[in-house]
Amino acid sequence: MARMIFTRLLLMFMAMFVVVTAMFFGIRLGGTDPAIAIQGSYATAESIAFLRASLGLDEPLWQQYVMYMTGVLTGDLGVSLQNGRPVLEQILLVLPNTFDLTFWGMIIGVVVGVPLGFASAIKRNTFWDQVIRVGTLASISMPPFIIAYLLLIIFAITFSMFPVNGGGDMDILSSRASHLFLPAMALGLAVAAYIARLTRTSILEILSKDFIRTARAKGVSEFRVMTRHVLKLSWVGIVTLIGIYSAVSVGGSVAIELVFGRPGVGRLVIGAISQGDFTMLQGAIIFYAAFVSLVNIIVDVTYTFLDPRIRYT
């Protein structure tokens, strides 16, 4: 077990190393010139050359790379090319916002999605099954930012029940929660629809297994069949879903932050792209990659507790 975690962590670092390297060279060879992005298209050639030199962009590429990588290994992600402040500091400043959004989005996704999928499978082909299937289909048919947009129009603008814009004051719980509710709901509903549909399919598949028929044949009550046989086995599939869709929710959070004007890593990334802020972009992508890889490792470890048939050596 410890060895498996160690190997996975090692693989994760290797993967992140590859990603960062590819990003580093890709952006510098193909991206916008930050000196031009900062000064605008009316800047003179001299001022651009001066800025390039002072940003360290004139050094040979490999030298910039070695400097950046040693920085990353010691926890220094460099300074933003746009405003000169340390990248790590700016990311850590907004990270709680993004974490709130994705974490509660996932919680809502699981809490809403799993029971819906379960109900839909047990009551298959009844009225409620149809309602759930149509509802989840509608939700799947919208990118998360559109769900966010609709919630914004209905609950924040038409009924003024929630604040329209911003992330609220992170130190005051009520403000933090009221600003979080709609964005997290949007993300949660998007994820819940997927989880509900896949839960339904996996439970239907479990229900067609022989041991379920055996259990019913020997007179086990339907309630016990569901809780002890079906639910226990379905957890493995559900945990996989949580792993897959936490990645989806990270992706969805970028656009949702934009809809609600919430500060967050996604907003930093979008700003960094339009301004040619390489270092900020790289820093943010490192955070995303680390988050997604860590979730995957946690999911793999959880398997061993849920399903005794899975053992890592």
Partner: protein, 300 residues
């Protein structure tokens, strides 16, 4: 000696005439459940709009008019005007072509590349080439679709073409995995064995023997991903990474409409509805075809 006539297998001759294909299509569609048929109708409508709509729009989608800003619905401007006085209906129709064309060509590009890489991986299943390809694809796969798109756009710069490439790259690992999976079942089959025995080169086996078989499987699988691709495209253009203003696209229209939500919500609400209808049409078709094919979910 077998003459060529004796090899004439009993293939029904295709009905000649212009109507043969539409009739076949119609019969296939009628065999879907009701929801699937509605989905097909929606898709035909959206495709028709994308193909001929831009030729028929009443106004230039980018021409601005200061006195006509944020107008409601009227006979002149069917869906009103946006914050720059541009005709929302025309923008919506032109945006349809943009989204459909971009996502489907991106998927085609992705499928083409992905199938080839997947085949190479499957053919080299016992050596380092396969391991390398699988490992690379696993890394790419951990990134959420939108984040992948953002990274590619960051490297290539903003713009329509680059968003297309971004979508293609985002789908690449999925395509590779699928085609590798399909090809793996074929690689050990007898016709490949036979081809190898008569001395066909690896490239010939991959291109002439494996590719046609994998193509059939992959063409239906790729269609399943069209909905996801449209969601990714609209998300990216909503983030302002795709087509640049004033050219209309659905995602960008939502973004531009956000700032005038209190005054006039229609310029952003209508593209939202368009995105929703298109994707739900696709999902209905996919659901319908899967339900009639999958023995597990069929009679439950």
């Amino acid at each position: 000696m077998i003459s060529s006539q004796n090899l004439n297998y009993d293939v029904p001759a295709p009905k000649s005439g212009l109507l043969a294909l539409p009739i076949k299509f119609y019969k296939r569609v009628r065999s879907l459940p009701m929801s699937g048929q509605i989905g097909v109708l929606i898709l035909i409508f959206v495709l028709g709009t994308a193909l001929i709509g831009p030729l028929l729009v009443p106004h230039d989608p980018v021409s601005q008019s200061l006195i006509n800003r944020n107008k409601g619905f009227s006979a002149e401007h069917w869906f009103g005007t946006d914050a720059f006085g541009r005709d929302v209906f025309s923008r919506l129709v032109v945006g349809t072509r943009h989204t459909i064309l971009l996502t489907s060509s991106a998927l085609l590009l992705s499928a083409g590349l992905g199938i080839l890489i997947g085949l190479v991986a499957a053919y080299n299943r016992s050596n380092w080439v396969d391991s390398l390809i699988c490992w690379t694809m696993d890394i790419l796969l951990t990134f959420p679709m939108v984040i992948m798109g953002v990274v590619v756009v960051a490297i290539l710069g903003q713009g329509t073409l680059n968003v297309g490439i971004a979508i293609a790259v985002a789908f690449l690992p999925r395509m590779v995995r699928m085609s590798r999976g399909v090809a793996l079942t074929l690689v050990t089959s007898e016709f490949v064995e036979a081809a190898r025995a008569i001395g066909a080169s690896p490239s010939r086996i991959v291109i002439r023997h494996l590719l046609p078989n994998v193509m059939i499987e992959m063409s239906s699988i790729s269609t399943l991903w069209l909905a996801t691709a449209i969601k990714t495209e609209t998300s990216l253009s909503f983030l302002g990474l795709g087509v640049q203003p004033p050219t209309p696209s659905w995602g960008l229209m939502v973004r531009e409409g956000l700032s005038t939500l209190y005054i006039n919500a229609w310029p952003s609400l209508l593209p939202v509805i368009a995105i929703f209808i298109t994707i739900i049409g696709l999902n209905l078709v996919v659901d319908g075809t899967q339900d009639s094919l999958n023995p597990h979910t069929k009679d439950h």
